[in-house]
Symmetry: C2
Subunit: 344 residues, 2 copies
Amino acid sequence: MHHNLCFIGFGNVARSLVRLLERKREALESKYGITYSVTGVATGSHGFAVNSDGIDVRQALEKVESGKSISLLSTFQVDDSLSVIQHSSASVMFENSPVNYDTGQPAIDHVKAALNAGMHAITANKGTVVHAYRELTALAESKGRKFRFESTVLGGSPLFSTFREAMPLAELISFKGIINATTNLILSRMEDGESFDDAVKYCQSIGIAETDPSGDVDGWDAAIKVSALATVLMDSPLKPQEVERKGIREITPAMVNQAKAEKKRWKLVASAERVGSQIKARVAPELVDSSSPLYGMMGSSSGLTFTTDVLPNYSVIISEREGMKGGPEETAYGLFADFVSAVK
Amino acid sequence: MHHNLCFIGFGNVARSLVRLLERKREALESKYGITYSVTGVATGSHGFAVNSDGIDVRQALEKVESGKSISLLSTFQVDDSLSVIQHSSASVMFENSPVNYDTGQPAIDHVKAALNAGMHAITANKGTVVHAYRELTALAESKGRKFRFESTVLGGSPLFSTFREAMPLAELISFKGIINATTNLILSRMEDGESFDDAVKYCQSIGIAETDPSGDVDGWDAAIKVSALATVLMDSPLKPQEVERKGIREITPAMVNQAKAEKKRWKLVASAERVGSQIKARVAPELVDSSSPLYGMMGSSSGLTFTTDVLPNYSVIISEREGMKGGPEETAYGLFADFVSAVK
């Protein structure tokens, strides 16, 4: 079946996704009978384009990556993201606009517009899940479409889809893990003798920490992911503000060295547990020893251990690999997997 | 939809599955619209029974567990497993007969009979995958039925299903991990000062090692699992004999202590890698350090790291949990998940 795709947000992740789709074009057709055209693109600062006959994606990538506008590729004048959705004739929308943790906007409005127009809506934007999971899921169901967000936690690795497709009727009792790669890399570098400030600077230099690193180091990013996981996998809406939260600023080099001497490590551990009808959720530094699956997760690795009524301890870990900086390519794969799952 | 189920083999795993199905009966109906009856049971030494109106499973469990025959529960005289399949009116067969590593029989014949009779065939038997994966998969496809075997590797945790359902078009380049829990427990206990012989005896005492432990300690069980993984996930039929194989008998207490002093550990590592059109597969003891995801996998834990073209390092780990001895219950969940996936 042929699918017209529109991209709302065209940063690193969306462009990696376009390249991945191109690379897998033949396999998509031969294995799943899926063909596609890109019929809408909305960028943050390089304009907007729709073309129901298909936009030349190589040109679109080239223009954006050389700082030019894509508006000349458009067959119809569009001036904002919602217009791109309306006029793209798309059956699938990929939402990758910048995250707003407080409101989830404008991503939520993009998802709603896409679903209302009969499209599947696929996003890497945590704000949509944290602020509107039930509403968007109900809207998608009422329209016979899918709302998917695999890439919001643990990069593009299968997690929500594993629970949905491969662990039927498993009841999630609790989970625990490392879900913020930046703080894990900072703590790893501190173990190697670097100061906190230098480790933060290193993370900024490789592009995994923001100029203001507080979202990571104060535990907000982890709290938002805990909230997304609890909301979806435990079916218990939980706001990031309800997660007990402590970051890593209090972890001193002396504490890191002391732990090392005891063959332990400080990790920023995120966890949630069902207690009666409540979810008790927490993000805080914890000392772990070598019997913990978290102990071996160094650098920008991340991972989670799930306790369910059917499998007592099931862990998923995404680890660093020398010479391969996951990042946007992995996140793009989560969106790709969501696409196949939604349309196949 | 209603399903008649038959059980070929009624040991710990099959009986755990019956209990799990009973526990999830309401959820199966409310979430998936699945109802079921058990209409055929073949045991190793407690007789055979078929009843197209449904066998009372509580009675069947009770009889077998108190050493009695189930044949009085039968409405029709059946004397062997193939007759149970033929006369069970089942739409799903669960195959849990003892594994024969050399031939895969009689499990392969059970699977063929079930598929030919129009049933889905679900098994925890590695022999069927290693000896007849392509043949059974082709037969299942020709009949519009499913051949499923989630529980053959890493207990009942999702692995084959994750690749099948949640990682579309991911190309598996290599994998590496610990897939024999018994040897991992032996090596863990040796690190705590126990001798090899005492550790083997301990494993025998808790029922995870056989009287003849050579299948585990010489690496055969791991080699068979490597072969199943490569055959299915790399689409490259690989016989256990083609896996380069070395067990743990040469690992001395001195070696374990030396590793410990260097903050390393000996692990029986199973791996396979695509090299050109060949698969290079290996089971052998390796020294791992704390940067490896294998380092923290102690006791009867097991796990695998997968390198794919889309996710560089994706790991799945099943770890021990105090007071919960996974074993048959976890394996049963893999069969349960296969059942839901096959019929939903």
